[in-house]
Amino acid sequence: MVKSILLVGVGGQGTILASKLLTAGLMEAGYDVKMSEIHGMSQRGGSVSTHVRYGEKVESPVIELGGADILVSFEMMEALRWLSYLKKDGKVVVNNFKINSMPILCGLADYPAGILEELNEKTTTRVVDAAQEAEKLGNAKVMNVILLGTIVKLMGLEGINWEKIIRDNVKPKFIDINLKAIKVGMDLV
């Protein structure tokens, strides 16, 4: 059975490191893994997504509409933008964190209200304060690994040796804080 994880956010939020660790862990666990993301201009503050799929044999690197088992959104509005990729009974993890897009910054639109209500009404949603938790750990940037922790828990991937994965893939001075971050994430959901 192939599982699909969709990570979404805003360019620069660190979805790439989170998905790198995730796919490394899945590969270590013996799964066939495929991952897809779009590079280029969207990285300049645009909406970004990373598709991760794993199982015995994966064909498509892309998650289809209505195909994701879990949608993890690093930014609040992005959860809603990508919601149609979620399975009818899929789970949502949404970071309680807003980034205004340019139309909002320019005053041409308002940041939408009622996103969490909409998500809660339509899906099984967990709202997490990853930014706040990251600040508590002393580095706002580990928000991404906290969110990775939520995926680990909700997808039942606790059996994978994440400590080794983090040690192998993260710069030495950031290993300890990331080890704490993944644990925090797992405990949040």
Partner: protein, 594 residues
């Protein structure tokens, strides 16, 4: 050894394993990481950034002629630039294996068009490979070099965005030591003058016949029989997408070698299945070939003519609907277009240029293309690399013939794009006595593709120090007399330079020189731009009158609190470029952390 690699990383690995000795490219999404990864094999491969794709391919051809396995890589539109040598190297043939990678962008994720470069393989009469994932990308590169040398011709290797930027598990091998072949002078083969070209043309045709036989028999093209009520013909990523949808409920003709197409194998497959779906991105090339063989099939009449053939697209086309999705109010979601970063050196110019009246702005390919949008509205058009200067010239020349013309045409082009194909355009401006205003946005790097060195940065792809091209001297050498170099973060300087350029009745060039905020500054940059990105700005909310002038600079670090009616600057993203500080009419923005 197994590794999780993107298609681009896998191509680089495959090139190394194949014994490649020379590789050249110009960066372009989705192809850029191919050369970046090849460059890491410093001991074994000479890897270079060329100023453009034509130069990259020509360098690779030269390397091949003297006997080395060589490679050039580019995005799909890059092959248009390199098309001139491509068509003729097909005639002259090669010595060391030559593989040209074209990274097509079905779905136009990062490109100005959706051209299908399989057409180039057919037009230039050269073989084409199309891998469907990372493992195949690595394996097929090695095979491509073998075929190139066996048939004495260049090989086109077509990947698409989803192959380039998707990761899969790849079984890696060792490098094959391929010696540099002996160089033997042979003008009949290498000099395409009328005395030689008819024989070359014959050889091309003979080669194509042999290659079609290869295409029918190679394991790169194969039939996979399951349920025979549906037969799918697909190449590249479309094959993976189709398998995701149909699984064992269909049979497949999987094509990895797509020029020439295996007509015998296609007929055989057609005889074994009831109904054929051709699933291909971009043009109906396989479909038309099947139809020419008299085989009935469904193709672009069922599947969309544009975009990627992802599983949901296939599902919808074949079964009438995609998987069930959660219904919600999509109108609630506000768009999130890419923007200039906080501290982007393009901001100051765009802010000033967008305000000019009676102005047409001729744009180019790079981050500055985002200037077309709110809040700058500082671009009228863009076409392709280097086109800004030449299009501005043509437009201005015609406008000048109108009696009452008061419209000036301004071109905007980045440093790397100027080196790519802008120099020729500027020669034309000087030579044909234009009076356009040309701005070269020199942010000291090839930025949009993710920061590649170029002839202006002082470093090579493999990290060696090299000469710096002096853009100002180059511009003057082209024949432009009026040249100014300015700091684009200084709005007064920008405005004055523009006023000066508008006042002239001759062509001018303004070079805005300041590094990209995301650039990892070199020693030389640190020396030249001492204060860059070391401070921050903040709003004194006592003084702020809520006029929102600062938000008109389009800086993502600035937000406006509608309740308090005050502007705010996010200290985590501000780098102190001071553009907002200069537009604030009440001096409410100040510097902190000096």
């Amino acid at each position: 050894m197994k590794k999780l690699l993107t298609g681009n990383e896998a191509i680089a690995r495959g090139a190394w394993e194949a014994g490649v000795r020379f590789a050249s490219a110009y960066p372009g999404t989705p192809s850029t990481e191919i050369l970046e990864n090849i460059a890491t094999y410093k001991e074994d491969i000479l890897a270079e950034w060329a100023p453009n794709e034509k130069v990259a391919l020509e360098s690779a051809i030269g390397a091949s002629y003297v006997g080395a396995r060589s490679l050039a890589s580019m995005k799909h539109v890059g092959l248009n630039v390199a098309a001139d040598p491509l068509f003729t190297v097909s005639y002259t043939g090669i010595n060391g294996g030559l593989v040209i990678i074209t990274a097509d962008d079905a779905g136009m994720h990062s490109s100005q068009n959706e051209q299908d470069n399989r057409n180039y393989a057919r037009a230039a009469k050269i073989p084409m490979f199309e891998p469907s994932d990372s493992q195949e990308a690595k394996d097929m590169i090695k095979e491509a070099f073998e075929i190139s040398e066996k048939y004495g011709c260049p090989v086109l290797f077509r990947v698409t965005t989803r192959v380039c930027h998707s990761k899969g598990i790849v079984e890696c091998g060792d490098r094959k030591n391929v010696e540099i072949r002996e160089y033997v002078k042979d003008v009949k083969k290498r000099v395409p003058v009328p005395a030689h070209t008819p024989a070359m043309r014959d050889r091309v045709e003979e080669r194509l016949n042999k290659l079609e036989e290869f295409s029918n028999n190679t394991l790169l093209n194969y039939i996979e029989l399951h349920d025979t009520r549906i037969g799918v013909v697909a190449s590249g990523c479309s094959y993976r997408f189709a398998k995701e949808v149909f699984g064992d409920c269909a049979s497949y003709l999987k094509l990895g070698f797509t020029n020439p197409l295996p007509r015998k194998l296609m007929k055989e497959f057609a005889s074994k299945v009831d109904k054929i779906y051709v699933i291909e991105e971009d043009d109906p090339i396989i479909e038309n070939e099947l139809k020419a063989l008299g085989i009935q099939c469904f193709g672009k009449d069922v599947f969309p003519y544009q975009g990627e053939m992802t599983p949901d697209v296939i599902r919808k086309a074949v079964y009438g609907q995609a998987k069930e999705t959660i219904e919600y109010d999509t109108n609630k979601v506000v768009s999130r277009p890419p923007t200039y970063c906080a501290g982007c050196p393009h901001r100051g110019l765009m802010y000033e240029l967008g305000k000019r009246k009676n102005t047409i702005i001729s744009g180019d390919i790079g981050c500055y293309a985002l200037g077309f949008a709110e809040p700058y509205n500082a671009m009228d058009w863009s076409t392709c690399m280097g086109a800004s200067i030449s299009m501005a010239h043509g437009a201005q020349k015609v406008l000048n013939t109108k009696e009452d013309n008061n419209t000036r045409v301004v071109s905007i082009i980045g440093d790397s794009t100027f080196f790519h194909t802008g120099i020729n355009s500027l020669l034309n401006v000087a030579y044909n006595k234009s009076n356009t205003i040309n701005v070269i946005l020199d942010n000291r790097i090839t930025a949009m593709t993710g920061h590649q060195e170029n002839p202006g940065t002082g470093y090579t792809l493999q990290g060696e120090k090299t000469v710096f091209v002096d853009i100002e001297a180059l511009v003057k050498a082209c024949g432009i007399k009026n040249v100014r170099v300015i700091n684009p973060n200084n709005l007064k300087e920008v405005k004055e330079a523009l006023d000066w350029a508008y006042s002239l009745d001759e062509a001018s060039v303004i070079i805005t020189k300041w590094p990209c905020v995301l650039k990892k500054l070199s020693e030389e940059d640190k020396e030249e731009f001492k204060d860059a990105f070391k401070t921050k700005c903040s709003v004194d909310s006592e003084k702020c009158v809520g006029c929102k002038m600062c938000t008109k600079t389009g800086c993502p670090a600035i937000s406006f609190d509608k309740i308090e009616k005050k502007a705010k600057i996010d200290p985590n993203s501000c780098v102190g470029c001071e553009v907002c500080l200069q537009v604030c009419p009440v001096k409410a923005i100040g510097k902190v952390g000096v």
